[in-house]
Every structure is written in C-alpha cells, then in structure tokens.
C-alpha cells in the first residue's frame, strides 16, 4: 500500500472531475449563461406530436424550445409556452446578440407580428414529432388574435396560424361536402334515360344508312390516299425538297446581294439627294404655278396673233393687192 503514487491518482481524479464539468457544460449547463426570452401562443387545433423540449424554429433555424403545454379549459385551446435564445438573432454586420433583454426582443417581435409573423405547427419528419415554426404566414397587418386572449399581460403573445395539415384537411372536408351535395340518383336516372335514347337512335335506319355511307367514304378515302401515295413518291418529295432548298438558297443569295447593294448604295446620302431633288422639283412646280397665269395670257395673245395672221393670210389669198392698196371697205360701208 505504500507504493501508491498519489500524484497519478490525483491526476486521475482532477482529470475526471474536469471532464465531468466539461460534459455538463457542453450538454446544456451552458444554457444557464444564455439570455432567453419567453413567449406563448394558442393553438385551436390538436398539438399531437408536440412535447416539452420540442424545437422552436424561426424560418427553419432552431432558436429555442417548448417549455410548457397546457390546456385552457375556458376556450378549449392549447397554450404553448416557449423560450427563445436571444443570441441567435444578430445584425448582418454584427457578431454580438441583437437583443440584450426581453423588452428589446418583445419590441422586435411585435413589429414582426404586424409584418405577418405567425407560428405554426410543422412535422419534424416521418416520426410524427412536431415543432413550432415562426414564419411570415399571414399578410401584413394587425393579427386577428389579440394578446388579451392569453390572459397574461407579462408574457408576449404570438398569434398562431393553422398548420398545413389542417389546411389540407379543411380543403378535403370542403371537397367531400361538395361531393355529398351531388345528386347521384338524379344523375343516374338521367344517364339511364340518355342511354335508352342513344340505343333507340342507334337502332334507327338513318344511322345505318349513314354508317354505310361512311364506310363507302372510308373506302374512297383509302383509294385517294393510295393514289396520292403513288403520285407523291419519296423521290418526288425529295426532289421538291431539293428544289425548295435551292429556291431558298437563291432567295438567300438574292437577299444577301440586296443587302450588300443596299449597304453600298449609301441610303442616307441617296435619301438626302432625293430630298434635295424633291425640294427643287417642288420649287420648280411652285415657279411653274406662278408663271402659269402669265403663260395663259401669253398663249391667249399668241392665239389672237395667230388669228390675225390667219385673217391676214386669208385676206392676202383673196386679194393679194391688198398688200399694196390696203384692205377694201365692205359694200355696206360703200353705201354709207
């Protein structure tokens, strides 16, 4: 017994105790040094799968746990008390916790509730366990559920939203209710009547004639199709396709050429020249329009001159001497 190395035994004990303390710290005693905020909600639906210790998540991030679940017998709703770790909320540029106490967190949450933040029960997996998820399930605005419903002014109230499963069940119930309203017997009677009418109709001679006609049409259609197949052979189709391809190639070449010519033509300059020419023509037209009156007068004078000349030539033809003697006076003038 004298050979005991007390140093080693002491080392063993100190190591074990240090390990014990470390294990306790890492397994949850560190929670004692974490700032937590407490809040509560009310669920009208079943909270099957939710238990004390279930996770509380904000948009899928675990931020706390369920502390307590109680039944409010007066309104038959389930009150769920939760605690949320404040150090999980941070600003984007900060490393420290955004909230230092419950009051700051309450203010933040009240603002977010007006933005549509609600809590909802979600399934954690195929095991049936559930957790409380905070997300913006409602449109922005004041919530329908009021904090006064909690009958506890000291605890922050967050309104709940029906779970997805409940929504599905509600939709299913509505659908089933609508299906139950369908009058199947009446539909069945109508169907029977319709079937008997159809049978009568099918037994009519007109339908038989029509069917025979359809048969002959079908035969004709087959023949026509055969003829078309004979005429439109694969070689012919190939030829048409080649010709089409050649035509398209020619069109493409032409298009390219036009495109090149158009580029070479310097369209802006041409357009400007055309514009200038049009202006000159317009001016000329205006000038012509202004000279038109003078031209008319000149033409009239020229006409009269031509008349006088014709009269002179006539006179000279009739009496060439008049060129020397002048024009004779009419007989009436002689009588006077």
């Amino acid at each position: 017994m004298s050979g005991v190395n007390k140093f080693r035994v002491g080392l063993f004990m100190i190591g074990a105790i240090a390990l014990l303390v470390a294990m306790l710290f890492f397994l949850g005693m560190s929670d004692l040094f974490v700032h937590k905020a407490h809040l509560a909600t009310l669920f009208g639906e079943s909270v099957q799968g939710l238990a004390v210790g279930s996770a509380v998540k904000y948009k899928g991030v675990a931020v706390g746990t369920v502390d307590d679940i109680v039944i409010q017998v007066d309104d038959k709703r389930i009150r769920v008390n939760m605690s949320v770790e404040l150090n999980t909320f941070r600003k984007s540029q900060s490393t420290g916790s955004l909230f230092r106490n419950q009051a700051e967190f309450d203010r933040f949450l009240e603002k977010e509730i007006l933005e549509g933040l609600r809590c909802r029960l979600e399934y954690a997996g195929i095991t049936g366990l559930r957790y409380v998820d905070f997300d913006y399930y409602a449109p922005p605005g004041p919530p329908e559920e009021k904090a006064a419903e909690l009958n506890d002014p000291s605890t922050l109230f967050i309104p709940s939203s029906p779970s997805a499963f409940k929504d599905i069940a509600k939709s299913l119930n509505t659908s089933l209710e609508r299906i139950s309203r369908i009058r199947f017997e009446e539909i069945s009677d109508n169907l029977v009547n319709s079937l008997s009418d159809i049978n009568r109709l099918l037994a009519a001679p007109e339908i038989k004639d029509t069917l025979l006609h359809l048969k002959s049409m079908s035969i004709n259609l087959d023949r026509t199709t055969g003829s078309i197949n004979r005429v439109v052979t694969e070689e012919r189709l190939q030829q048409i396709a080649e010709q089409t391809e050649q035509s398209l190639q020619a069109v493409k070449t032409l298009s390219d050429r036009i495109h090149a010519d158009t580029e070479r033509a310097d369209l802006p300059a041409c357009a400007a020249a055309f514009r200038d020419a049009a202006a000159v023509i317009r001016e000329a037209a205006e000038a012509i329009a202004s000279r038109r009156q003078d031209l008319a007068v000149t033409m009239e004078k020229l006409g009269r001159t031509l008349d006088a000349l014709r009269e002179l030539t006539d006179t000279l033809n009739q009496d060439p001497s008049a060129l020397v003697r002048g024009r004779r006076q009419p007989a009436l003038e002689q009588q006077h």
Binding site: R8, F12, M23, G28
Partner: protein
C-alpha cells in the same frame, strides 16, 4: 428431504449473516462519517489507484470500442433511410444512459470485485480477520469501508471517462466512415443529450460501485478457509456482481422511466 432442509437452513443462516454484514457496513460507514479524521485514507488511496487509475486504460479502450461498434451497427441500418446523422443520437443516448455505466461496472467487477474477494478470502485463510476480531477491531471498518469509499469515488469518475471515450468512438465512425462533418456530429450530440441524461447514467455507477464492493467483500468473508475456496469466492464475486448490476440496471431504468427520463 433432510438434506434439503439442511440446505435451506444453511441459506437462511447465510441470509442472516448477509443482513448482519450490510448492517455492520452501514454502522461502520456512519461511524467513519462521524469520525472522518480517523478515516484510513492510505488504504482509500490504494484502492482508488487500483480500481480507478489503473482501470482507466482498459475503460477507455473498451468504451471507445463500444462506441465504435454502436456507431457501425447504427450506421448500417440508418444508411438505408438516409438518416446517418442520427447515429450521433443513438450512440450518445445508448452510451450515456446504459452502456457506459454498465461497461465500466463490468470492467470494475472483473478488476476490483474479484480482487476484493480474493484479498479478504486470503486474509481469512491466514486468519488475519480472526486476529482483527480478537484484537477488538472491526474487520468491516478496516477492510470494507476504504474499499467502498474508493469505489464510490472511482466508478463514477471512470464512467465519465468511459462516456467520453464512447462518444469519441462513435464520432470516429460517424466522421471517418459516414463522412459526417465533425461540427455536425458534435452539434447533433450536444443538441440531443442533456445534462440529466449524463448525470443519471453517472448516478447508476454509484449503485453499481456499492453492489460490486459489497458482493466482492461478502464473498471474501464467506470464503472457505483454503486456496480453492478463495478462487471460488473470487469467481462467485464476479458472477454475483454481474447479476446484481444487471438487475439493478433494470430497476433503475424503470425508476427513471417513471419520472420521464
């Protein structure tokens, strides 16, 4: 019929001696608590070294391997469902609540329980126990109480080491074989395990320490006064301890479950 009655009579007398033994241990323990300055610390240090420090390597090895085995077995099943991360839960819960304390107790039974029985049995063969009684000294105070105190200290501490080694063994499988990131495995383990899970497992080891010491010492005192008798008592101590540990584990687990743990 006569032999059967004699056998029953022997068992009854043995039962009576066991009750007296437990009573004597309780009284001596109380006496030591009241007179803690007279407590035989040197013997206690010796047994602490024997049962605690010297058992540490084998405890670390066995529990580490146990964690690896659990991790591998869980991984094979959970891989089929894509839930490899839950290996951390299974290894953590199994080790901290059950297998850690149980495996450490088994190791302690093999090392300490048999040693106690053999030591006291040899002393009985050498009539040292009779000498102590003749001199008016309580054999229980000198021989049992230091062992009991040392075991009550050593076994929970060994359990802490065993738990950590088991968790690391499971983590080795999770990280090395299942390629789960260390941070994810660690985070999952810390998320699922609670201080209460850990402490309840450690609390079991107090009961196991008591049972191992008492059965070892009882078998030593009941040993026949010959060499073969010492061997039989050492074997009997191990068998009794294992049986008592398993039974106590069942009872404790049921007891914990009543309170929701």
């Amino acid at each position: 019929m006569n032999e059967l009655l004699q056998e029953i009579g022997r068992d009854l007398r043995r039962g009576r001696r066991l009750v007296e033994f437990i009573g004597a241990i309780s009284l001596e323990l109380w006496h030591e608590l009241c007179h803690w300055k007279k407590f035989r610390r040197r013997e206690c240090w010796y047994y602490l070294d024997l049962c605690g420090r010297q058992s540490l390597p084998i405890v670390l090895l066995i529990c580490g391997l146990m964690g690896m085995i659990l991790g591998l077995q869980a991984a094979i099943q959970m891989r089929q469902f894509g839930t490899e991360l839950y290996v951390a839960d299974l290894v953590g819960f199994s080790l901290l609540k059950e297998l850690g304390p149980l495996m450490v107790a088994m190791i302690a039974t093999g090392r300490a329980g048999s040693a106690f029985a053999a030591e006291i049995g040899t002393m009985k063969v050498n009539e040292e126990i009779s000498a102590l009684s003749t001199m008016g000294m309580s054999p229980e105070r000198f021989l049992v109480v230091p062992k009991l105190v040392a075991m009550l200290v050593a076994l929970p501490l060994l359990t802490v080491f065993g738990d950590v080694a088991g968790l690391l063994g499971g983590m080795l499988v999770g990280v090395g074989w299942l390629e789960i990131p260390v941070a994810a495995y660690w985070s999952r383990t810390m998320e699922e395990l609670t201080p209460m899970t850990f402490l309840l497992g450690v609390a079991k080891s107090f009961v196991f320490a008591l049972l191992i010491t008492l059965s070892g010492c009882w078998r030593g005192f009941e040993s026949d006064a010959d060499a073969q008798g010492v061997g039989r008592s050492a074997t009997g101590a191990v068998v009794d301890s294992i049986l008592l540990i398993v039974v106590a584990d069942v009872i404790l687990t049921m007891f914990y479950s009543i309170f929701g743990y």
